[in-house]
Amino acid sequence: MSDQNPRGHTLDIVMAGLSKRRNAEKRFRFFGLASIVVGLVFLLVLFISIIGNGYSAFTYSNVALDITFDPAVIDPEGQRNPAALAAADYDTLWKASLLKLFPQVTERQEKRALNAFMGFSADKRLKDMVAEDPTLIGTTKTVWLPVDDTVDLLFKGKLGNEEELNERNQHYQHWIKTLKDQDRIHSSFNREFFTNGDSREPEAAGIWGAVVGSAFTLLITIGLSLPIGIAAAIYLEEFAPRNRWTDLIEVNINNLAAVPSIVFGLLGLAVFINFFGLPRSSPLVGGLVLTLMTLPVIIIAGRSALKSVPPSVREAALGIGASPVQMVFDHVLPLALPGILTGAIIGTARALGESAPLLMIGMVAFIVDIPKTFTSAATVLPVQIYLWADSPERAFNERTSAAIMVLLAFLILMNGFAVYLRRRYERRW
C-alpha cells in the first residue's frame, strides 16, 4: 500500500509518537513521586503531633521539700508500731513544709490550692521512707516529691490558654516560679509511666499493665495462629484435592480475611465466654479472638508464598522419588518460609494494634493490677490508649500520645524483624 522503504516508514511513525510516550512516562513518574511525598508528609505530621504531644509524659516534675518527720503526726503513741506508722496521715508533713516555704498564704482559697499542690503519691512516698527507716522520725530531711499532675503540666508549659489559667492555676504558676528561683523544682525521668498499671490519677498511671496484657495476648495469638495457619496453608496448597469443598473453603477463608474485626469480638463473646465460660477480660480469650482474626491472613500469605515456589523444584524432588511430604518439608517450605513468616508477622502486628474485638470481650475494663496469668483480667496497649484518650484529665492527653509512641515502637520493631527474616532467609534460585 506504500512504496516507501518500510523501515524508514516505521521509524517516522515511532518518532512521531515518541514525545507522547515520553510525556506519559514523565507524568507517571511525577504522580508516583507526588503520592510518595504526600504520604511522607502525612507520616511526618502524624509523628510530629504524637511525639510533640507525648514526649513530655516521659518526664515528671518533682519538688524538693524539707520534710520534718514530726513524731506527733506519724507516731503519736511513740510505739514505732508498723501498723500505726502505715495508718498515719503523711500529707500533713508536706503540707506543713510547703506552708513554711510560702508563709504569705493565709487566705482559705489559696490554702486549699496549696494543699492540692503535691501529687497523690507523695503520701505513699513518705510512708515508704518511714517504713524502711523508722529512725527518720523526728529528723528533718530534704525529699524530692512528685507534684500534682496539673502543676506538672504548668511547669512543663503545657497549659497556657486563658480558660486553663483559672485562679488556682495562677497561684500555682506563681509558686512554681518561686520554687524555680530557689532551684527546688525539676523534671526527671518518669519511671512510673513504664512500671505502673493503669490509674485514675494521671501521675500514677503507667503502661506496664497494658504491655504485659498485650504480651500475654500476643503469646496466645502467635502460639496458636502460627502453627495452625502454616499447617492449614501447607495442607490446602500442597495436599488437599482440588474439588468443590476445597474451593468453598478457599472462598470462605478469603471472606474471613475481610470480616470486620469487631465481628470476631462478638463471636469470641458468644463462643469463648458465654458458651465455654472462659474468664472475661482475660488475655486467654483476647488471644483466641485475635487468633481467629489473624488466621485467614496467615493462611492467605502462606499459600501465596508456597504457590510462588517454582514448580521445577517440586518436579526435581518428586523426580528422584521424594514423597510429597519430603518434597514439601525439604524443599518447598524452606523456600516459602520467608514469605510465610513475613505474612505471619504482619498479621500478628495487626493483632497487636487491634482494639475493637477486645472491647467486646471486656478487655476495656479499668484494670489497675498488672496481669499475672493468662486468665487474670488485663487490658492491651491499643485499648489503654482508647481509655486514656477518653479520660477528662488534661494530663492523660500526653500519656495517650506517649502510649501511642510505645505501641508504634513495638510495631516498628516487629516489622523490622519481618524485614530481617526476609533478608536473612531469602534465597535466589
Binding site: P310, V313, E315, A317, L318, G319, I320, G321, Q326, W429
Partner: protein, 278 residues
C-alpha cells in the same frame, strides 16, 4: 468419544496413521507399553502407544512440538500424576511389573526411574546436598563417609567431579547451565536407577555443553536404560540406538535409529526428518 477421535484425525495431514510403522517390540525389553492413552481433561493428548524400551540402550523420542512425546515420557515415572485432570490408561510395565495402576507406589518407582528435566533444576542447596538428597531420603547410605562416596562417584560418572570437587559446599545454582544439567544427572544417578528419562536435556544449553551431555549419555548407556526426548534430529541420530517418531499424539514410526533416519517407512517420518515440517 468417537467425535473426539474424528476431530483429532482431521488435522492438516489427512493420512491414516492409527497403527505404528516399524518394529515397536524389543527382544529384551525393560519397559513395555501397550495401548497407552493420555488425556488432559477432554483432550486426548497421546493415543494408543505401543512400544518397548530395550535394556541398556538409548531410545530417542522425536517429533514436532506438542506431539505428545514429553507427555508419554512422563508416563514412565508417573510424573503425570502431578498434573490435575491428567489421566493415563493402558498397560505400562517395567521388568514385567505393572506400573500404571492406581495402587502402585510411585516413590519406589521414581527411585528406579530417574528423570532429568528440560531446564536444569538443581535444588537451591549446596552441590553436595543436591547429589546427597536422593540417597539420603531413600536410605542408601549407612554412614556419612558412605554418602560422601556415593556423591563423589555420582559426580565422577556425570563428569563433573573435577570441576566441583573444591566447592561442594557452594550452591548448585551458582554453576553454569551445562554444569547444572550435569549436576542434575549426577543427582539422578546417585539413586542408582534402572532407567533415566531425559526431557530435552540439552535444549537450554550451548553446543559445547550439549556435546558433553551427549558424550555422557553414551557412557551411561552401559549402566542404564535411557529414554530421551529431543528436538534435535542430529542429537537423536548421535546418541540413540532406537528412535520413535511422534506426531499429533500418535506414535508414527519406531525403529533402529540408522534405519529411521536413512530409510523411513512412513511418509510423515520422512517429511519430518528431511525438514519439510516440524
Amino acid at each position: 468419544m468417537t467425535t473426539l477421535e474424528n476431530s483429532t484425525r482431521e488435522k492438516p495431514f489427512h493420512r491414516e496413521h492409527r497403527s505404528t510403522v516399524g518394529t515397536f517390540t524389543s527382544d529384551n525389553p525393560r519397559i513395555v507399553c501397550r495401548s497407552v492413552d493420555v488425556y488432559y481433561g477432554e483432550k486426548h493428548a497421546v493415543q494408543n502407544i505401543n512400544i518397548d524400551v530395550g535394556r541398556h540402550q538409548v531410545i530417542a523420542l522425536i517429533g514436532p512440538s506438542g506431539c505428545g512425546k514429553s507427555t508419554f515420557l512422563r508416563c514412565l515415572n508417573r510424573m503425570n500424576d502431578t498434573i490435575p485432570d491428567c489421566r493415563v490408561t493402558g498397560d505400562i510395565s517395567m521388568d514385567g511389573i505393572a506400573i500404571n495402576g492406581p495402587d502402585v507406589d510411585v516413590v519406589p518407582l521414581r527411585a528406579q526411574v530417574g528423570m532429568v528435566f528440560q531446564k536444569p533444576n538443581p535444588f537451591p542447596k549446596s552441590i553436595f546436598e543436591n547429589v546427597a538428597y536422593g540417597p539420603r531420603i531413600h536410605g542408601l547410605a549407612t554412614n556419612p563417609s558412605d554418602l560422601e562416596g556415593i556423591v563423589e562417584n555420582s559426580l565422577r560418572r556425570a563428569g563433573l567431579w573435577e570441576e566441583v570437587k573444591d566447592r561442594l559446599a557452594q550452591p548448585g545454582t551458582g554453576l553454569s547451565g551445562g554444569q547444572q544439567q550435569r549436576l542434575c544427572i549426577a543427582r539422578t544417578i546417585a539413586v542408582n536407577p534402572e532407567v533415566i528419562l531425559m526431557d530435552e536435556p540439552c535444549s537450554a544449553l550451548d553446543p559445547i555443553a550439549t556435546a558433553k551431555i551427549e558424550q555422557l549419555i553414551d557412557e551411561l548407556r552401559t549402566l542404564y536404560t535411557i529414554v530421551i526426548v529431543t528436538h534435535s534430529m542430529q542429537q537423536a541420530a548421535r546418541v540413540s540406538q532406537r528412535t520413535a517418531f511422534f506426531h499429533l499424539g500418535h506414535l508414527i514410526e519406531v525403529g533402529e535409529t540408522a534405519q529411521v533416519f536413512t530409510n523411513p517407512q512412513h511418509q510423515l517420518t520422512e517429511e519430518y526428518i528431511t525438514g519439510r515440517f516440524g
